[in-house]
């Protein structure tokens, strides 16, 4: 009898053991061997802000896409697979830097071209004579910007070109106003001369014709 009970318990235990689900696999352990790439994340974000705030992406679209994708990947792996995150963030940093180094010279060129356009317009209406002093100040700023560009100081050049553009726009507008005012006055005096001549001619005819 005792043997039967033991056999039954053993059989039940065997049955229970055979029906149980396999044991759960343990969670993948956090990679603690590589430190969190905090500096890389911070730098990548900072570069992104610089690029976005200055609208540089349009000058290097491909590099910008790569940078964005790498940053996303780095942020996804951050704290989970730090080695992978660091690699992705390093790539993002490199791509953002590529955007910056490609965009600034192009941006400077565009800035210069914009100033050249308004400068030419101002010169066409002789702003250099009409507003000598103001034109001189704008031109000095322009030359300063060109020097910064030539020296490779692109950010400074862009800022100086923006100032020169504002100055030239002001010079152009004011010169245009002066030109129009002079034209109106000259036209008015021309009409006055014509009118005076007609009056005098009529008077001459009356006097020489002897009529009263």
């Amino acid at each position: 009898m005792r043997k039967i009970v033991i056999l039954m318990i053993a059989g039940l235990a065997l049955l229970l053991f055979s029906c149980a689900s396999p044991p759960e696999q343990p969670e993948q352990p956090v990679d603690t061997t590589v430190a969190l790439p905090e500096k890389e994340l911070e730098e990548a974000k900072s570069l992104k802000t610089r690029v976005d705030d200055n609208g540089l992406s349009e000058f290097a679209a491909e590099e910008y896409q790569q940078a964005e994708s790498s940053l996303q990947e780095g942020q996804g792996a951050y704290g989970k697979d730090n080695a992978k995150a660091k690699t992705a963030l390093d790539a993002a940093i490199a791509s953002y830097r590529a955007v910056i180094s490609k965009a600034y010279p192009l941006w400077v060129d565009r800035s210069k071209a914009e100033v050249d356009t308004i400068k030419t317009k101002a010169e066409q209406i002789k702003a250099q004579v009409a507003m000598k002093q103001e034109y001189g100040a704008a031109k000095a700023k322009y030359e300063e910007a060109v020097a910064a560009k030539d020296a490779g100081n692109f950010e400074q050049a862009i800022s100086l070109f923006a100032e020169a553009k504002t100055l030239f726009q002001d010079v152009y507008q004011k010169t245009k106003q002066k030109k129009e005012a002079a034209e109106a006055e000259i036209k008015s005096a021309q009409d006055g001369i014509k009118e005076a001549e007609e009056k005098a001619k009529a008077a001459d005819e009356e006097i020489q014709g002897g009529g009263a």
Partner: protein, 150 residues
């Protein structure tokens, strides 16, 4: 003979001077000339881009044109006043010389008074007033003439 030639030359010179004066235009006055010169300077300044100067020159030109116009108007007024005064004087002299019927002596007296006023106004350079008096004289004389013709 020599005297005759000299006299002839003198007459010729006078005739030339008279014809030149008659052909002279009222535009031949310093204000008009100055205005034209200023306008020329204004246009030159404009071409150079000195718009402030250009405007200034043309503004000045207009001031001189106003003066020129005033001169022309004044010369014309003097001419009209003078012509009418002469006509009025001739008509009054004529009626005085031929005499008028006693009934119309009052018209002649009034015409003489108006003529004196016209002359005084002319001498005082009040030309419009002189013109008005001369016209009054001529209107009065016109009535007298009609009456006398009857």
């Amino acid at each position: 003979m020599k005297k005759t030639i000299l006299f002839g030359l003198l007459i010729l010179a006078l005739l030339l001077a008279a014809s030149s004066a008659a052909a002279q235009s009222l535009l031949d006055n310093p204000d008009y000339k100055k205005a034209v010169e200023l306008q020329r300077q204004g246009e030159a300044a404009y071409a150079e881009g000195d718009y402030d100067k250009a405007k200034e020159y043309s503004e000045q030109a207009k001031i001189y044109l106003e003066r020129s116009n005033a001169y022309v108007e004044n010369r014309l007024l003097i001419y009209r006043a003078n012509s009418l005064l002469k006509s009025a004087q001739e008509r009054v002299s004529y009626f005085k010389s031929v005499g008028v019927q006693p009934d119309y002596q009052g018209y002649l007296d009034q015409a003489e008074k108006d003529l004196a006023s016209a002359r005084a106004a002319y001498e005082a350079e009040r030309y419009q007033e002189s013109i008005d008096y001369s016209k009054k004289v001529l209107a009065g004389i016109a009535v007298m003439k009609t009456v006398q013709a009857k």
